[in-house]
């Protein structure tokens, strides 16, 4: 028994090392540049692939060959990080908040296809580490020698990072920039040099984290996504920008996983509870608990407010006659489509309408309410399942079942939102992610009720809606109605109160606004309409699966909002339309469609840092179609 516990503890230690390396890199990059680097997992993946290639090259059977290959791989990834910083990110530091996330998302797509092109589709199982191929006897159990080395690597890197951060001028600057970026700029430090250096270090650590996993982790194309969410969780649990915190969090999460596996099945009051299944979501449960109890992570500090980094949003353009005319024109055009376009165009437009509504609800949070959500798909998905279960289990007619969608989405948002609005910034975003993952894992595993990983099928609309044109009109009506309603809300006192809380919580409080409560209501409202979008999605597809509330769906929403421009009301609609259309047309005709989609997004990001709608608005203002802001 004791031996088992000791061994699982050591498994936890070994698992923590690589996780810590990746997370430390992510944390350092975020701390200084405030960039949420989605591509960090891709850098890790490159680390594994490059290590595979370089270890073969240097000779897998010699100790030098192995460790040389690992180090070289990490260095290469560091250099790739430098290239990314110089070529892409440096151009958009001044863009609105989180816009850089869009660029790093595009990089994920590009890197994935590049890896497929270079290394092929087959999993590459790396060699065992030269000199550490076997196992040692510990309490009568055999434990891999290499895992002992890994256990040592984590603390060694932690120590080196500590020395770097505390004993060098560069480290001092990095720490200062983490505290207050503008101040360092004001001191006359070469900021771009500092950022490039930080990116090198962060990418190097990601690459090293991947490379040292080579003997334990086959190189394969899904690693990027697998690792990025783990790394984010570790960073947030530890406290953003805190390297020590990342170490502690990596340890905590790796140990939790090892012990869930070690405990296995436990019978509690007659029902068997499988801890091994719990590993699916344990890190997100830990994150949720930590964030609720300690809003800035285990060792994190409250972040200083940003000053002057981001553009101040211009005042809202009123919903005047011109606006309603434009809406009318769009509706008329969409109404003409069934007479001119083919059936598939209607299908595509239904998708666009549903995602536009979804994106508008997310924008409602990110824009006017100032709350970024990384888990917005939760409410979309709850809407899907609400409608589906009402139809299949309650045997409600489809029209009534559709009502369950906003209800389910809203209810989920009401519960999760209550916790989320207590936080702000990236921590809030990560708590939404944690809740989304928890909801996802419940739906994913509850076979009897939700159909588990297979989802639910047979969700087709009622007879009178079966005709594609009729359903098109029906879906369009609800989506456009929902979008217009939310836009009205933004222009209504409620929306103004949300913007007031975002602009200055201090002032809002001083004029009697309960900011948190408004945020909570706003969160719920957004969730309600996201649920409606989900319900329509379910009935337009005839089937749903846990994917409807998984991370990629949330990311798609973010991409749509950012692509369109977070500072413009119409941006999310434009973003949803462009992204859905791009994905549809590129995925259809090209083998490396991910890379092409990624490159297209990169071009858009670099060309229009205010998003598509922001850019259009600028042009429209310049040529005089729109009123110039009194500025």
């Amino acid at each position: 028994m004791l031996a088992n516990i000791v061994i699982q503890f050591m498994n936890g230690l070994a698992g923590a090392s690589s996780l810590f390396l990746v997370a430390a890199g992510l944390s350092i990059i975020f701390g200084v540049s405030r960039i949420v680097n989605f591509a960090h997992g891709s850098l890790y993946m490159l680390g594994v692939y490059l290590a595979y290639m370089l270890v073969e090259f240097f000779g897998r059977s010699s100790i030098f060959g192995f460790w040389g290959g690992v180090l070289m791989a990490a260095l290469c990834v560091g250099l790739i990080g430098v290239v990314i910083e110089i070529v892409v990110l440096r151009r958009i530091y001044r863009a609105p908040e989180l816009f850089q996330l869009l660029a790093t998302f595009a990089l994920v797509l590009v890197i994935k296809d590049a890896a497929l092109y270079i290394w092929g589709a087959e999993d590459l199982v790396g060699p065992r580490a030269a000199g550490l191929r076997g196992a040692v006897e510990i309490l009568g159990k055999r434990f891999p020698q290499y895992d002992l080395a890994l256990i040592a690597i984590g603390p060694v890197v932690l120590g080196l990072l500590w020395l770097l951060m505390n004993r060098t001028r560069w480290g001092t600057l990095v720490r200062a920039a983490t505290q207050d970026r503008e101040m360092v700029g004001a001191l006359g430090v070469n900021q771009s040099g500092l950022f490039t250096g930080v990116f090198f270090l962060g990418a190097f650590l990601a690459g090293l984290g991947g490379a040292v996993q080579l003997p334990r982790e086959p190189a394969q194309l899904a690693l990027d996504i697998t690792v990025i969410s783990d790394a984010f969780v570790v960073v947030v649990v530890g406290g953003m920008g805190s390297i020590g915190g990342a170490f502690l969090a990596a340890l905590l999460i790796a140990q939790a996983k090892a012990f869930c596996i070690g405990i296995g099945d436990v019978s509690i009051f007659g029902t068997v509870f499988s801890f091994s299944k719990f590993t699916l979501v344990v890190e997100f449960v830990i994150m949720a608990v930590v964030l609720v109890v300690r809003p800035w992570g285990l060792l994190g500090k409250q972040q200083g407010t940003q000053r002057g980094t981001f553009m101040v949003e211009p005042p809202l353009y009123p919903l005047n006659r011109n606006f309603w005319l434009a809406v009318l024109a769009v509706v008329v055009l969409l109404g003409l489509v069934p007479f001119g376009g083919d059936g598939y165009l209607l299908v595509l437009l239904i998708d666009i309408a549903v995602f536009a509504l979804f994106a508008v609800t997310l924008h409602f949070l990110m824009g006017p309410s100032g709350m970024v959500s990384f888990g917005h798909a939760a409410y979309f998905g709850l809407g899907c399942y609400g409608a589906a279960l009402a139809l299949l289990k309650l045997k409600l007619p489809m029209e009534l079942a559709l009502f369950a969608a906003p209800l389910a989405g809203g209810l989920g948002a009401l519960v999760f939102g209550w916790f989320c609005v207590r936080l702000s910034g990236v921590y809030l975003a990560m708590l939404t992610l944690a809740f989304a993952q928890i909801a996802w894992s419940v739906i994913y595993q509850w076979d009897a009720f939700t159909g588990g990983s297979n989802g639910l099928v047979g969700l087709w609309p009622s007879e009178w809606l079966k005709d594609r044109t009729v359903f098109y009109a029906f879906a369009l009506l609800l989506c456009i109605g929902g979008i217009l309603f939310l836009w009205r809300v933004v222009h209504a006192p409620f929306g103004y109160a949300l913007r007031a809380g975002r602009d200055s919580a201090l002032r809002a409080d001083a004029i009697g606004i309960n900011v948190r409560r408004f945020q909570w209501f706003g969160f719920t409202l957004a969730g309600t309409f996201a649920g409606l979008a989900g319900g329509l999605f379910a009935f337009s597809k005839g089937s749903i699966s846990p994917e409807t509330l998984a991370v990629p769906r949330s990311v798609d929403g973010l991409v749509m909002v950012l692509l369109g421009g977070v500072q413009t009301l119409t941006g999310p609609v434009a973003g949803a339309a462009v992204f859905t259309w791009l994905q549809d047309s590129i995925a259809r005709n090209t083998e490396y469609w991910r890379a092409i989609l990624g490159l297209t997004i990169l071009v858009i990001v670099l060309a229009f840092p205010q998003g598509i709608a922001g850019f259009t608005k600028q042009v429209a203002t310049r040529i005089g179609v729109m009123r110039r802001e009194a500025a």
Partner: protein, 253 residues
């Protein structure tokens, strides 16, 4: 008529007594200045009045109603307007919308999901902006205003709920000298017109002696003097404090 009365107000931070046994009152239409050297406890004192800090002991009464333990937003609802040392306005809104925001909140109209906020309480907002001399800039985004103008907007926001008491923390900080006197003169005029009690902290002695009806002086958390500007100016203890801290209050900055 006494609007705000404070007695026995005390607060300590980890053994350091920031404010000790402070008592004073402000009458309607009166401008009371709270002065004192840096670290005297002005901000602590102020934040206990507006609800940011909870006093360890003491009484804070607004028209006979205790404010202790109330949240800032609830205190505002009782008729206490505030301006901040570092301005806080809604930068993504126009000047007019900033005022409308306060009016909407004052009229409990914030929960509406449908009406166009931009058109609500428009006339009232313009009246307020007119009173602070900002009507001509009403359509500009607040984020691009000059600092002095933002201060005026804040004043208009503070007036939106027809306050009985105005709490102004360093209202002229960061402004050019001639603007300072103008702003406080404006404040004094409005306060007397509407019979509002004003409590303000201030570093600039020109402003204080020109506009305050009465002055209270805080040093090391204790009230050391109270009276008309003339009396306070003549108070030897006050002179010692200010001389000791190296600031002459006769000549301003």
């Amino acid at each position: 008529m006494t609007v705000l009365s404070v007695s026995n107000l005390s607060k300590a931070f980890g053994g350091v007594k920031a404010v000790q046994d402070v008592a004073f009152s402000v009458a309607a239409g009166e401008l009371l200045a709270l002065i004192g050297p840096n670290g005297a406890g002005k901000s602590t004192c102020f934040n206990m009045l507006n609800g940011q800090l909870r006093p360890d002991s003491g009484i804070v009464n607004l028209l006979g109603r205790s404010l202790v333990g109330m949240k800032p937003r609830d205190i505002w609802r009782l008729g206490v307007g505030r301006t901040f040392q570092i301005t806080a306005t809604f930068n993504s809104m126009t000047v007019r919308e900033n005022i409308q925001m306060a009016l909407l909140s004052h009229h409990n109209a914030l929960l509406s999901l449908w009406k166009s906020a931009n058109e609500m309480y428009l006339d009232e907002a313009m009246v307020l902006l007119d009173r602070v001399g900002m009507a001509d800039q009403s359509e500009r985004p607040c984020g691009i205003l000059a600092y002095g103008d933002i201060k005026r907007v804040e004043l208009a926001i503070a007036l939106a709920n027809q306050p009985k008491l105005l709490l102004m923390d360093e209202p002229t900080a960061g402004m050019a000298p001639n603007e300072r006197v103008n702003l406080m003169a404006l404040t004094a005029r409005l306060a007397r017109q509407d019979n509002i009690a004003v409590l303000f902290t201030e570093h600039d002695m020109d402003v204080v002696f020109a506009q305050a009806d009465r002055i209270i002086v805080l040093n090391r958390g204790r009230l050391i003097a109270e009276g008309s500007p003339m009396e306070v100016r003549a108070n030897p203890e006050v002179q010692a404090v200010y001389l000791g801290s190296g600031v002459t209050y006769a000549g301003g900055h």
